[in-house]
């Protein structure tokens, strides 16, 4: 079946460096994509989202890029900090214009070395 997946299960970066976390999705009908951060013992925390009619969206220190041609989503974190250490999930929502369930990827663990 169609699913959201991640290219890298773990990523280790030096504090201050930029991080890039990747995600592949297979459902071309997906309309909405979200990145969540999950710290140990906590629930998924919303980071940033993007709709399928956009290629790029920027937040504070984070940027999400969407390449619909190759069905690829990435999360860029600028000047990575120790507090960014967590598991990052991408998720997709296939419902256009209405609420729908999220399909999560497996997650990438980001470790930031001081």
């Amino acid at each position: 079946g169609e699913s959201v997946g991640l290219h890298l299960p773990t990523l280790s970066v030096q504090e201050g460096d930029n991080s890039i976390i990747n995600c592949a999705y297979s459902n071309s009908a997906s309309d909405y994509f979200i990145w969540y951060k999950q710290e140990s013992g906590k629930g998924p925390q919303f980071i940033i989202d993007i709709r399928s009619n956009m290629d790029k969206r920027q937040g504070q220190r984070v940027t999400v890029l969407l390449n619909k041609t190759v069905k690829h989503l990435s999360l860029q974190i600028a000047a990575t900090q120790p507090g960014d250490s967590a598991v990052y999930f991408c998720a997709e929502n296939m419902r256009r214009g209405s609420q729908g369930n999220l399909i999560f990827g497996k997650g990438t663990k980001l470790s930031v070395k001081p």
Binding site: G43, P44, F46, Q99, L102, F104, G105, G107
Partner: protein
């Protein structure tokens, strides 16, 4: 900042017992969800709820599961007869109707860890 809350944080139960997991969604949100995450695995959708009825459910959400909004603030997940494989983190989420471009954003609670012995 408004947030989704869940109680209890940890629930231990015997196999075959009923459990009720409780959630208080963000107050102006109208859509409610339950997800679960088995240890070390990805988050999986269980059910969505809107206007006092289930709008969508997954294959996981079988007859032993039910949801209810008993009053204006709480949203509950009941597991009627727990099985060992029900052990997981259960997350509640809520979202608002479409007032902005990104209105589908689902905000998650901290989760309830359910352990079935």
């Amino acid at each position: 900042e408004p947030e989704v809350t869940q109680t209890p944080s940890h629930q231990v139960t015997q196999m075959g017992q009923e459990v009720i997991l409780r959630c208080v969604p963000i107050s102006n949100h109208l859509y409610f969800y339950w997800y679960r995450q088995i240890l070390g695995q990805k988050v999986e959708f269980l059910v969505s709820f809107y206007n006092n009825e289930i709008s969508e459910k997954s294959e996981i959400f079988d007859d032993q599961f039910s949801v209810e909004r008993p009053d204006g603030s709480n949203f509950t997940l009941k597991i009627r007869s727990t099985k060992l494989e029900d052990s997981a983190m259960y997350f509640c989420a809520s979202s608002a109707p479409g007032a902005t471009l990104m209105a589908d954003t689902q905000y998650f609670g901290p989760g309830t860890r359910l352990t079935v012995l």
